[in-house]
């Protein structure tokens, strides 16, 4: 990366701006693939997607292909989807169950623990081959938290729990709300569009500002939930939370109210005994949660409806903005719910998820339209020549006054008291900058308020 490009970016970030050209710069994109997706913890999938030995799905780190599989011993594994012989991709199917993978070219065969167990005519052709040296490649680090599996190509990266910092405490509340925890239901929805991956992630960095404009049509058609709009509900975006680019919780302020994000009885009857008093206090009054985990994984938990007359159901979904190029991204969305969810509610929750956030989801379609529009002018000569800066100044002192910190917050991190801020977006940019320059770890990103 040229120093002058990063110097220009640094100057912009210090003012609460972001250079328009930086979204779709080809050199930056290639650096992102190496320095960001090639170095950080990247979300692979959830353990509940591969419940039985041999179960597998295809997943990616950046654009690189991997197999996410449970081996015969029941352990979760991640393998580079490339035969060790001549490199052909081994797994051609999106999901399934396999005890072995046999390459179509010369028949080299690997078991689902990645060991090379079959080399045709080995005695005649490969007598000296030590098969133990030729097993499938794995990323040097694979780790999970509450069933969320991440992999990293950086063998020195801190543990996932360390990397998640304060966010891990909130993941306990969201993914560990009930005793058995959350599970994925159904295959992920995948829709690509011409937007840069960063634009998608920014949406989950507490960009509360966009909601009323972007989602007006979906809300007025009846997809919105009254719970989020109730008069005593306040947004609390984090002014500081370690581990995340950003997180946000919406709380009801008229307790006692056993909301538990809308899970109500399902949560209170099956509450995880490991949760602390403070975690339960937050969960009890919570209506909405979202966060962005650097670089490109986001979580949303919010009430949604399949149609106006139906009740709202809590919909938890994990999203990944998989980069396909400087101006193209595929959005993956997984629907999740507590394992204890009764049969009659599973369908209702899935219906609510699909109507709002699936591939025909009326909420996400408008988001993707916005990101596409943001991405369109980014590779213009004009943006480069005139160094066009995009505005991320909400929450800066001169824009919105002092940060209104909510002092009674019982959890880690610092939350604002109902204030809209771009602080999370500025932090995401700084994390991105740190990763590209190597000046500091992404998690040491601090931004001026």
């Amino acid at each position: 990366m040229t120093t002058s490009k990063m110097d220009q970016i640094s100057e912009s970030l210090s003012q609460g701006y972001f250079p328009q050209w930086a979204y779709s710069d080809e050199e930056l994109y290639n650096s992102e693939l190496e320095e960001i997706f090639g170095e950080t913890w990247c979300f692979i999938g959830h353990e509940t997607e591969i419940p039985d030995p041999g179960d597998y799905v295809r997943r990616y780190i950046g654009e690189d292909p991997f197999i996410f599989i449970r081996d015969e011993d029941g352990d979760v594994r991640v393998f580079f989807n490339s035969c060790r012989h001549r490199g052909a991709t081994l797994c051609q199917t999106e999901s399934g169950n396999a005890s072995h993978f046999r390459c179509s070219y010369h028949g080299w065969t690997f078991n689902n623990s990645g060991n090379l167990v079959g080399v045709p005519q080995k005695h005649e052709l490969y007598e000296g081959l030590d098969t133990e040296e030729w097993g499938l490649f794995e990323p040097p680090r694979v780790d999970s938290y509450r069933g969320l599996v991440f992999a990293s190509l950086n063998e020195d990266i801190p543990s996932l729990e360390t990397y998640l910092g304060d966010l891990a405490w909130y993941f306990d509340i969201v993914f560990g709300l009930t005793e058995e925890g959350m599970e994925v239901v159904g295959e992920p929805h995948r829709v690509s569009k011409e937007y840069n991956w960063k634009s998608g992630v920014e949406n989950s960095c507490s960009d509360n500002y966009h909601f009323v404009t972007t989602h007006q049509s979906a809300v007025e058609a009846g997809a919105g939930s009254e719970e989020v709009a109730a008069s005593d509900v306040k947004p609390h975006p984090f002014a500081h939370i370690s581990g995340a680019a950003q997180a946000s919780l919406y709380m009801r302020h008229d307790p006692p109210y056993d909301m538990f994000f809308g899970y109500t009885d399902l949560a209170s009857d099956n509450l995880n005994p490991e949760l602390s008093e403070e975690q339960i206090e937050i969960a009890r009054n919570a209506v909405f949660f979202n966060c962005a985990v650097f670089p490109n994984m986001t979580v949303v938990l919010m009430p949604a409806k399949a149609s106006p007359e139906k009740p709202a159901y809590p919909v938890l979904f994990v999203r990944l903005h998989k980069p396909l190029g400087e101006k193209e991204t595929e959005s993956w969305r997984w629907c999740m719910m507590p394992k204890e969810t009764p049969e009659e509610d599973r369908r209702d929750i899935t219906d609510a998820f699909m109507a709002s956030f699936g591939s025909s989801g009326i909420f996400v379609a408008d988001d993707q339209a916005a990101w596409e529009r943001v991405t369109q002018p980014t590779d213009s000569v004009f943006a480069d020549k005139f160094d066009v800066q995009l505005n991320y100044e909400v929450g800066k002192e001169e824009m919105s006054g002092d940060l209104d910190i909510y002092e009674e917050w019982p959890g880690p991190g610092e939350v604002t008291d109902g204030q809209m801020i771009d602080l999370g977006l500025r932090k995401f940019h700084k994390m991105w900058y740190n990763s590209l320059t190597g000046e500091a770890s992404p998690h040491e990103a601090e931004v001026p308020r």
């Binding site: 929805h189 049509s217 699909m354």
Partner: protein
């Protein structure tokens, strides 16, 4: 001759239905659906065999709609600020390979292919084509055919277009 009459009636119905959707007369399209309509499209994954039971999901759907949720989608699409529909895509439907599979007193089961060609904005290379196989139950209501049930099996597993039109 009776079978040929039924076939021609179905073909006319599908031609008229496609014209309504091509011309964005989506409120009128809702009138072609029964009040208890089920309108679904399961997700598809690339598998080892071409086998509907294996490839298509039992749990995940691109949409699993009833009359109320379809009305919600139409209302959203008609909204002045439905950004996903601005500018509106120019979609055109080609229904073919129509087959009447079975018939009862007031219902028919049909199979058809649908090809939708999409033209987006002013960029020719944004042209998309979406194809699918549809299995319908058509019900005779007050003398006219209406869609009581539609199962859509897309050829694509993933899309570069949010599925904000009707198939």
């Amino acid at each position: 001759m009776r079978d040929m009459e039924i076939y021609l009636e179905c073909r006319e119905f599908y031609t008229d239905e496609a014209a309504l959707l091509d011309n964005w007369e989506i409120d009128d399209w809702l009138d072609l659906l029964t009040d208890d309509v089920r309108y679904v499209a399961p997700l598809r994954e690339t598998k080892e065999r071409r086998d509907r039971a294996e490839e298509f999901s039992a749990e995940a759907f691109h949409f699993r709609d009833d009359k109320e949720s379809l009305e919600m989608r139409v209302q959203k699409a008609n909204h002045e600020y439905s950004w996903a529909h601005l500018p509106p895509v120019r979609d055109r439907r080609f229904v073919s390979n129509i087959k009447v599979l079975d018939q009862q007193e007031d219902e028919l089961q049909t199979r058809s292919n649908l090809l939708v060609r999409l033209s987006e904005r002013d960029i020719p290379e944004d042209t998309g084509v979406i194809t699918c196989e549809r299995f319908d139950t058509l019900r005779r209501v007050d003398g006219s055919l209406k869609i009581a049930d539609r199962e859509i099996f897309f050829d694509n597993t993933n899309f570069d277009f949010p599925l904000m039109i009707f198939f």
